[in-house]
């Protein structure tokens, strides 16, 4: 019986540790917050995402694409434009929250959301989804 109790105690401890770790991940993301962003939420001044980027992405169906992206600040929010072969394709409204840049976008083919992790080198590592789909795509932006 004592063995069972010990085993149970270990199980409870393991469960608690696992839960704490997962909760922390849920709040801060898998790698924790980016160090340069100490204490910053909604503080768009801490990390600048403004600029022009070249982008490459994958569609939820597995295809890939390339694009050019401009990000400009508008007060506490951001305006984002995606260009394909030099032509404007989608337009978005963005919010910088800590080290995550989140943009709602719309265009002729519908609307969606993209969320980028802001990396230390200024690149943006994104996940996106368009309305009507059930899978996510990816998009990486590098500053020009």
């Amino acid at each position: 019986m004592e063995k069972w109790l010990r085993l149970t105690a270990v199980l409870v401890l393991a469960c608690s540790l696992c839960a704490c770790k997962k909760l922390k991940e849920l709040r801060e993301g898998p790698g924790g917050p980016v160090p340069f962003d100490e204490g910053g939420t909604e503080d768009a001044g801490v990390v600048g995402v403004e600029g022009t980027y070249t982008g490459s992405g994958t569609n939820p169906d597995g295809g890939s694409y390339e694009c050019d992206v401009t990000v400009s600040r508008e007060g506490d929010a951001y305006n984002v434009m995606w260009y394909f072969d030099g032509r404007p394709g989608y337009e978005g409204a963005g919010i910088l929250k800590g080290s995550t840049f989140v943009v709602g976008f719309a265009g002729p083919q519908g609307y969606g959301v993209v969320a980028y992790s802001v990396k230390r080198d200024g690149s943006l590592d994104g996940t996106w989804a368009g309305k009507g789909g059930s899978k996510a795509g990816t998009e990486k932006l590098k500053k020009k």
Partner: protein, 117 residues
């Protein structure tokens, strides 16, 4: 046996705490620039890797959105006949979602708190 029940309960509670954001919520928000406040009902349903979000005002569907979880944040792009925008929610203890939002044409940020029904 009681001990095992405790273990199961602990694990179940841990799982519930990590549970996804799907559900029905009561929402309270303020518009950017202090331009008024509003209440709404919000329904979030999971669809594969993404979430469908619907905002109801006085029982009528007002906005629809699509959401993903990234860096522990629930990120939603929404649209309606009146345009589009973005909301970023932090997932709080008890499953409450605390959001900030914006839409083109507003320089400021609005706020929206969703409490599970």
């Amino acid at each position: 046996m009681k001990v095992f029940a405790f273990v199961v309960l602990t694990c179940a509670l841990a799982a519930a705490a990590l549970g996804d954001v799907a559900g029905e919520y009561r929402g309270e928000g303020t518009n950017p620039g202090g331009q008024g406040s509003y209440t709404c009902d919000v329904k979030i349903t999971r669809s594969g890797d993404v979430y469908d979000v619907q905002w109801f005002f006085d029982g009528a569907l007002g906005y629809e959105g699509i959401g993903i979880v990234k860096d522990g944040l629930f990120c939603v792009g929404y649209a309606s006949g009146q345009g589009y925008g973005v909301v970023v929610y932090e997932v709080k203890d008890g499953g409450t979602l605390e959001g900030i939002w914006t839409t083109p044409g507003f320089d400021g940020l609005g706020r929206e708190t969703l409490t599970k029904k």
